[in-house]
Point group: C2
């Protein structure tokens, strides 16, 4: 009986590990992981890109540019239902005929990546002030490019 229980425990442990490994493998092949690198912050008429301090070295030299391309995540649409929407009325106007989301820049799309170009006002440590951005306060930022 005791031998049987020990074997059972061993199988349980192996089972848990193999399930976890399988899940990780599936994740690795079927999806890519995107980490937020900062957050949009709107305060008293100012707009800031607050970059996480661990990414401070990645901002070196940005102050020399007049503009920056900001990639952010449409986090309010991050549900399986909204990500399954493949056709929309452009600009949300019913009078615009339905169109595939890949022929629009709708915030409804399988991968919730937004691209916008902003004018840089200043870069101070990990905070980039821009003139404005078409994103809500607290929106996760996922990349900056130049």
């Amino acid at each position: 009986m005791r031998r049987f229980t020990v074997l059972f425990v061993l199988f349980m442990i192996m089972g848990c590990n193999s399930m976890a490994t399988r899940k990780q493998k599936q994740m690795a092949t079927d999806t890519f992981k995107v980490y937020p690198i900062g957050t949009v912050s709107k305060e008293d008429g100012h707009t800031y890109l607050v970059i996480d301090k661990e990414y401070l070295p990645a901002l070196m030299g940005l102050e020399r540019f007049s503009h920056v391309t900001v990639l952010y995540w449409f986090h309010l649409n991050d549900t399986p239902e909204k990500r399954a929407v493949l056709q929309v009325h452009p600009q949300g106007k019913k009078e615009n005929p339905m169109r595939g989301v890949f022929a629009t820049h709708s915030p409804m799309r399988p991968n919730l990546i937004a691209i916008t170009r902003c004018k840089i006002l200043s870069v101070k440590n990990n905070i980039v002030e821009v003139d404005k951005i078409d994103a809500f306060d607290k929106t996760p930022i996922i990349d900056l490019k130049n």
Copy 2:
């Protein structure tokens, strides 16, 4: 002794489950999931964006446009080590002084998203032919925009 073993097995099962739940919760809050929606295919001097058939409805209307913005994943750099690189010599040239990756469009960056603009030659079913793309054959495509 038997009671002890039963308890031990129960704790093992609970432990495994709670670890998995914690991991899922952490994943959900700290990262976003990006699904490949197609693949770059280069054949006999032609360049195709082969979109997965499940996303065919999302292409409706794209044929009316002359150009498309293609987002793809720098999949060859998808390792923790490469994603931790925060400064590079722009264009990979040592004579260019080091700069933060957020002030470049280097393929080394925390989130491996590439943006490029392509001229559309044709749209046939789920296949968009473009004149050229600065991506390797078999690169995963993650979004198209207009």
